[in-house]
C-alpha cells in the first residue's frame, strides 16, 4: 500500500472510537436508568459516526478495493490498533464512567490538535468530532463528580474503577512508528505534547469529586501495536459475528 503510514495512523485514532462505541453499545437497554441508557448509546452513536468517517477515508486512500465495512469487520485482532483502555469491560457503572472520562479528556485534546493537521480530511473530521466530544466530556466529568462525591458506596466504587483503569492511561501517549512518521509530515499529532496537561485536567476533576489521584506508576501497553488484553477477542466475536457467519451480507 502506498499510503501505509497514513492508513495506519487513521486506524490508530479510529479504532479507539469503534471499540468504545461497541462497548457502550453493549449497554443499550441495560443502562442504570433510562436517561443514562440513552446518553451512553448517544455517545456510542457519535463515536460510530466518527469511526465511519475515518474508515471511509482509510478505505479511499488504501488504493485497494476496500470498504469501510471491510475495515470494521474483517480484520484479525492483531490488526486493531485501539488502546487497551477502551476495550476494558463494563464491570460496573463506575467502570463505564471511569473509562469514558479517562478517554474523553484525551480524545478532546487530540481533536483540538488534529483540527490543525495538514491533512484536510482529518481536519474536517476533527472539527466535526470535537463538538460531539465536548458533550461526552461534560457528561462523564459530571458523573465522576456525582459518583465520587455521592454516597460512601458510590465513592468506593468510583475510586476502585479509577484505580483499576489508571494503568491504561500512559499508553495513550506512547507513539507508534506510523504516528512518529505522520508527526514529521505535519499530519499526525505528537500526543506526548499534551500528556502533562491531560494528567492535570484529570487530577482536577478527580479532586473535585473527592477522589484520590492514583499514585500507581505501573502501566500496561500494547493495544496500539495490536497486542490486546483478553477482552478484545470477545468484543470482536460479537462485533464480527454477522460478517463472519454470512460473508458480504448487507442490510
Amino acid at each position: 500500500m502506498k499510503n501505509q503510514n497514513l492508513y495506519n495512523y487513521i486506524l490508530t485514532i479510529a479504532d479507539n472510537s469503534l471499540i468504545l462505541a461497541q462497548r457502550l453499545g453493549e449497554l443499550c437497554g441495560h443502562g442504570p436508568n433510562l436517561e443514562t441508557d440513552i446518553a451512553l448509546t448517544n455517545i456510542s452513536l457519535d463515536l460510530l459516526g466518527q469511526t465511519r468517517s475515518y474508515y471511509q477515508y482509510a478505505a479511499k486512500i488504501s488504493g485497494e478495493d476496500k470498504t469501510e465495512d471491510d475495515i470494521a469487520f474483517l480484520r484479525i485482532e492483531r490488526e486493531y490498533k485501539n488502546c487497551l483502555l477502551v476495550e476494558q469491560p463494563n464491570t460496573h457503572f463506575g467502570y463505564v464512567i471511569g473509562r469514558q472520562f479517562l478517554f474523553d479528556v484525551y480524545h478532546f485534546m487530540l481533536m483540538e490538535k488534529l483540527q490543525n493537521s495538514k491533512d484536510e480530511t482529518l481536519t474536517a473530521i476533527a472539527k466535526k468530532s470535537i463538538k460531539e466530544v465536548s458533550y461526552h466530556k461534560r457528561f462523564s466529568s459530571d458523573w465522576i463528580k456525582r459518583l465520587g462525591d455521592g454516597t460512601e458506596e458510590s465513592n468506593v466504587k468510583m475510586q476502585e474503577a479509577i484505580d483499576d483503569l489508571w494503568r491504561y492511561t500512559d499508553e495513550l501517549f506512547l507513539m507508534t512508528e506510523a504516528e512518529k512518521i505522520m508527526v514529521k509530515e505535519g499530519i499526525g499529532i505528537d500526543v506526548s505534547s499534551f500528556k502533562e496537561k491531560y494528567y492535570e485536567e484529570v487530577a482536577e476533576v478527580l479532586k473535585d469529586a473527592t477522589l484520590n489521584v492514583p499514585e500507581n506508576k505501573y502501566f500496561t501497553k500494547g493495544g496500539k501495536e495490536g497486542v490486546h488484553t483478553e477482552h478484545m477477542g470477545y468484543i470482536l466475536a460479537d462485533l464480527q459475528y454477522m460478517q463472519r457467519t454470512y460473508p458480504n451480507m448487507t442490510w
Partner: protein, 165 residues
Amino acid sequence: MTKTANIETQLIPVLETVSDPEIPVLSVLDLGVIREAIERDGMVQIKLTPTYSGCPAMDVIADDLKKAFSEIGKKAEVELVISPAWSTDWISEEGLKKMEEYGIARPLSESHDKDVLLGEKKMVKCPQCGSTNTHLVSQFGSTACKALFKCDDCHEPFDYFKCLK
C-alpha cells in the same frame, strides 16, 4: 469556507418536500443540511451534511432526496460532506418556529446553552406553556441533537435542541 449554501432556485420546491425523518415538520432546507444543489446535464447534484457524525437520518434523507427527484423524472446524486461542520445557526428562522410548534425548544446561544446544560440557569422555554421554570433531565435526549428537559410549571417533559457551533 462558505457558510451560505449554493442552491439553485428551481430545485427548491422539490427540496422543500423532503423532511428530516426524526423531526418531520422540518424540511431539509429548514434544517440547513443541504449545502449545495445544482443541476448539470440533467443530473441534480446535492451535497448533504450531517447534523451529528452518527446521525442515522442521513441515509434516509439521501434516499428520500433521490426519490423526490425521480418522481419528477430527474436523476439525483447525493454526496455526504462534513466540512464545514454543520451548526445550529444554519436552521432557518422558519424552521425554529416550526420546531417550537412541534414541541421542541429552540437552541439558545452558545454560552447560554452551556449554562442550562450545566444546570446553572433556567432559560429554556417550555414549548407547551412558555414558562422558563424548566430543568435539565438529561444532556442526551431521544436523538443526538437533543437534550431532555422538564417544565416545573406544567410538568411536561420536552426535548431541547442543543446548540452546536
